[in-house]
């Protein structure tokens, strides 16, 4: 990844994004900007629109308004497989492996249909530490292993933008540290990461910056420490005073 030339153009810009489900506005004008090789934490209470944001950026939902720009080019509403070929990929909060496939085949599909169709699936399995399970059926993995398989499959398509949806939930402290190091090494290689996470310690470990969301909008941009001092953020997380 060249850091020169196009360095002024952010990897991802989400600008006034709107997504409606019937009368409910899951995203109500959300904004965020993610630089190259940056790790941005996306936090907020349940139902604040974090996962919806990832679902729109990864092409699972079509936006109802606003723009999504990948390196300056509009990508809102493109189908997922096209986005994959443009360098976008993701993991899922509830992992979604191909259950009757072996672990190796899961990654093989992504290699065969990804951006560089001649890689060795084992490289990606080794990166997430699943190479010893390569011949197991994916349905026999536990949930933490399935999450790592999701990550290996996403990486096998060679993304430059990786959307990580609650990868850390359910991992033990040692696994958490290992995953944190993997994500940091990806960022060092120039991959941009948008990380949705409830474990703020994990976010603090890897992210330079966070965007706090509430009710489909971004309410804070900046460091995690400052966020905890911000009165709006505190009110959203802890509840406001009720006239007392």
């Amino acid at each position: 990844m060249s850091r020169n030339g196009a360095q002024d153009v952010p990897m991802l810009v989400v600008d006034g994004l709107v997504k409606r489900f019937g009368g409910f506005r899951a995203l109500d004008g959300a904004n965020l900007t993610l630089g190259r090789g940056e790790i941005l934490g996306l936090v907020g209470p349940n139902g604040s629109g974090k996962t919806t944001c990832i679902n729109v950026v990864s092409g699972i939902y079509r936006p109802d308004g606003g723009r999504v720009l990948l390196e300056g080019d509009p990508i809102g509403g493109l189908p997922s497989h096209r986005l994959v070929h443009l360098g976008v990929n993701r993991t899922f909060q509830i992992p979604k492996p191909f259950l009757t496939f072996t672990v190796r085949q899961n990654v093989e599909v992504a290699v065969a249909y990804g951006r560089e169709p001649h890689g060795d699936p084992l490289v990606f399995l080794a990166f997430v530490g699943l190479e010893s399970l390569a011949d197991r059926e994916a349905s026999t993995l536990n949930s933490a292993q399935q999450k790592l398989l999701d990550l290996a499959r996403a990486l096998a398509t060679r993304p430059s933008l990786l959307l990580v949806d609650e990868l850390a939930a359910g991992l033990n402290p040692a696994e958490l540290e290992a995953v944190a190091e993997k994500l940091l090494s990806l960022a060092k290689d120039g991959v941009s990461l948008l990380v949705v996470e409830h474990l703020l310690g994990f976010i603090d470990r890897i992210a330079d910056r966070v965007v706090v969301m509430n009710a489909g909008r971004d309410i804070f941009h900046g460091g995690l420490a400052e966020a905890s001092q911000d009165p709006t953020v505190v009110e959203v997380f802890l509840g406001g005073s009720h006239g007392g």
Partner: protein, 306 residues
Amino acid sequence: MPKRLVSMIAVLVVVVAAFAVAPHLYSNQLLLFNFVVYLVLAQGLNVIYGFTGYLPFGYVGFFGAGAYGFSLAVIHWHTSPFLALAVGVAVALILGVMLTPLLRLSGAYFAVANLAAAQAVLQVVSNPNLTDFTRGPYGISLESIYNPRLSYDAAVVTLACSLAVVIYLKSSRLGLGLEAIREDPISAAMAGVNVVSGRVIAWLLSALIAGLIGGIFAWYVSVFYPETVFDLGISIFAIVFTLFGGTATLIGPILGVLILYGIYNVIGITAPAYFQLIYGLLIVLLVLFLPNGIVSLFNRRGRRVP
């Protein structure tokens, strides 16, 4: 060449050779022909159901469309049988394209909508007001081109092609992508697979196979009614045979047809009164104890039946 591919090609050669030689050893050619027809239909169904998970209860619609496309080309344009087969395939493909919007549905909704579509085609074909064109409810008669020898051979060639299609899918990027779609369409898309075009390709491929064997069926029997070639029993047999043997494998549908259609013919003749009871029990037991078909009995960890 990978061992797996070699063994699949060996299966193709053995099955095709057996049915090519069989008429010289066994006099009931009609029975052999029906076996070939079901072997082809089971593999065609395998392409759409085994590889993408869409269960088309109206699969017989493509078979009937092929049979009628073939027959009308012979009756109205006096074409040679081989050109008429191309017309039959074209008609089945056109029907397939018309029904692609059904792929937006899933599970039982798709199965029922497809069933209704096949019935709608039957009602159109057998409409008395169209008698001048389709012969309506009075059926088709093609004595002028009757040729059981040549049409049987055409069916055996079609069998070879349908097995080759499944071997290709079992050993190619396309087949891997289709199976990924079956497992989880969203994950498949995130692996870079074009889900919509993958489904349409599998759908049209299965329509093509059924249309071709439908045309050959019309050629072989040469006299039939609309209800003969749009019989839902054909769909159900093809589905049951494929499920019984094991979907998304080459051998499963072959075993399913040989065993179940074999039993059907044996007890259908010797003990017709018990036929439905035995058949029904067999299917119930299968669904309860072997949902992945009989090939799953032979699967071992890391080693799968092709």
